[in-house]
């Protein structure tokens, strides 16, 4: 049995008394690769915020690496790619290297030497195929290149848990395939646990070992095969959609 990475019990959250998440109870085990899907407003991003401690639950509890957020020391074990990268200031005077190095900030206390930081950033940049962009200003890059920089920032600390909110946004098909292949390798080879938030339910089964379908509460949580066999798909998407999505991966 793999140890629990995330444990949520009776998790509820409301904005201005409007409930957006209701009674979520689930566990994520080390090595899990969870595809988090659901319609707009289903609470996917809110759940990510609760996992990261960016919001406090209105009811219930959540632990990450066995600790509540106020006691959490293992921030450097979490790699995060926010959804809203397009909202950052495009005139921010930072180089790609400086941005990626931000991913190492929580390792400052582990006294990572300057040369080690530099090597880690170089490695992350090479992994994403953007080594030649290190000295460029972030605002001078295309949307796809910027997304790769932010993915490199999420990976640079060699996290044990990766939380990626819509990572494929702005990536061209080839980069997207390479990125998902990289995630697959990290998950299988290095047991990196992954939570991937996506709208692309059609292709999530290609990557994730588990699927969480959210619509303010957990509609389904299990393997993709179980999902296709359950009546959740029929209820949510109708029989024809179930056929298209599930049989695509046969």
């Amino acid at each position: 049995m793999q140890p629990e990475l995330i444990s949520a019990r009776g998790l509820c959250h409301a904005y201005n008394s409007v409930e957006v998440l209701s009674d979520l109870t689930f566990s994520m085990l080390r090595g899990d690769y969870i595809g988090l899907v659901g319609p707009n407003g289903s609470g996917k991003s809110t759940l990510v915020k609760l996992i990261l401690g960016l919001e406090a639950p209105s009811q219930g509890s959540i632990t990450v690496f066995g600790q509540a957020h106020k006691d959490l020391k293992a921030w450097d074990k979490i790699g995060y790619l926010p959804q809203k990268i397009n909202f950052f200031n495009p005139h921010f005077p930072s180089t790609v290297r400086e941005i990626v190095e931000l991913g190492l900030i929580s390792r400052r206390h582990s006294r990572l030497a300057r040369a080690e930081r530099r090597a880690a950033v170089d490695q992350a940049l090479e992994l994403l195929g953007i080594g030649d962009l290190a000295k460029r200003l972030i605002g001078d890059l295309s949307g796809g290149q910027q997304q790769r920089v932010f993915i490199a920032r999420a990976l640079v600390s060699r996290p044990e848990l990766l939380i990626l909110d819509e990572p494929a946004t702005a990536l061209d098909p080839e980069t997207r395939d390479n990125f998902f292949s990289l995630l697959h390798d990290l998950n299988h080879r290095d047991s990196v646990s992954v939570i991937l938030v996506t709208h692309d339910i059609g292709s999530i089964g290609e990557f994730a070992s588990k699927l969480m379908f959210l619509d303010k509460r957990i509609i389904f949580f299990g393997s993709f095969d179980e999902f296709c066999l359950s009546d959740t798909m029929t209820k949510v998407f109708g029989p024809s959609s179930q056929h298209i999505i599930c049989h695509k991966h046969d």
């Binding site: 979490i78 005077p93 180089t95 900030i105 400052r108």
Partner: protein
């Protein structure tokens, strides 16, 4: 020429002005980069208005204004932060509330005390050439505190400035770092009133940063360029104002603006031109 320079530098009031001016310029430029990028540029303006009110309180109570201004302006800075966080209003509105209350209190006290007297007027427009030894020591000490704190929390400040949500998700105590930033700004604004005056304080925070952003290639690089232009403008401003008998604060600010225009020109000259359509 050399004799003239040596004579100029031999004056005690010039030495004090140059030393205090350089230290304050350094603190202003570093904080300015952070504030402008976080779209909090006008916090300097708002806090300088509070400084006006607090100087009036000091003069009214017959207490040295610096001693009264520091705690009042620091408390106001935290007030702006709390208003933004708790009252669900945007930063510019919170700055507007605190600054207007500050200036209203100043005007009220000045009126009770019999109108704007010479002392209060000198704080409005500043005069670094009349800076006292106590003010020089305070400027050095507090500027070292500001520069030291920026160096100590550099990674955290950079992370919060670029993306506050990501910084929180990295385990950074953003509330604490934000409080540090506004307190440092409050200290710097109080120090700057004697160099360029309350009316022109925000220029020393904004202009060097705005200049740096035209030509800098990186965040650290921006801070270095802002610090360089800020110190150069203060030193040149003091020299020019002495040589041509001009107001020092205004000379410093206008020189800053000239450097900003030069950087803008430099950027437009070296900016890669878009390719012509075939």
């Amino acid at each position: 020429m050399t004799a003239d320079i040596l004579e100029f530098l031999s004056y005690g009031f010039i030495q004090r002005a140059l030393i205090a001016g350089c230290f304050v310029a350094l603190a202003c430029s570093l904080l300015g980069v952070l504030l402008v990028l976080r779209r909090l540029s006008l916090i300097g303006d708002g806090l300088s208005h509070v400084t006006f009110g607090s100087v009036a309180v000091g003069l009214f109570m017959n207490v040295y204004p610096l001693y009264v201004s520091l705690p009042i302006v620091m408390a106001s800075a935290l007030g702006i932060l709390r208003l933004t966080e708790r009252a669900r209003i945007y930063g510019d509105a919170a700055i507007g509330i605190v600054s207007s209350v500050g200036i209203a209190a100043g005007v009220m006290l000045a009126s009770v005390a019999g109108g704007l007297n010479v002392d209060l007027f000198s704080y409005l427009f500043g005069n670094v050439l009349s800076i006292s030894s106590t003010e020089v020591y305070a400027s050095i000490l507090l500027s070292i505190v500001v520069v030291g704190a920026v160096a100590l929390y550099f990674d955290e400040l950079f992370s919060i400035t670029f993306d506050e949500e990501y910084a929180r998700a990295s385990g950074i105590q953003t509330a604490r770092i934000n409080a540090v930033l506004v307190l440092l700004t409050a200290i710097t604004v109080v120090l700057t009133m004697k160099v360029v005056g309350i009316m022109l304080t925000s220029a020393l925070l904004i202009l060097p940063a705005a200049t740096a952003f035209q030509v800098a290639r990186g965040f650290r690089n921006s801070m270095l360029i802002a610090a360089g232009t800020s110190v150069v403008s203060v030193v040149s401003g003091i020299v020019i104002s002495f040589a041509f008998n001009l107001p020092t604060g205004a000379s410093i600010v206008l020189l800053n603006f000239v450097i900003f225009l030069a950087a803008l020109l430099l950027k437009s000259l070296f900016r890669p031109r878009p390719a012509r359509p075939q």
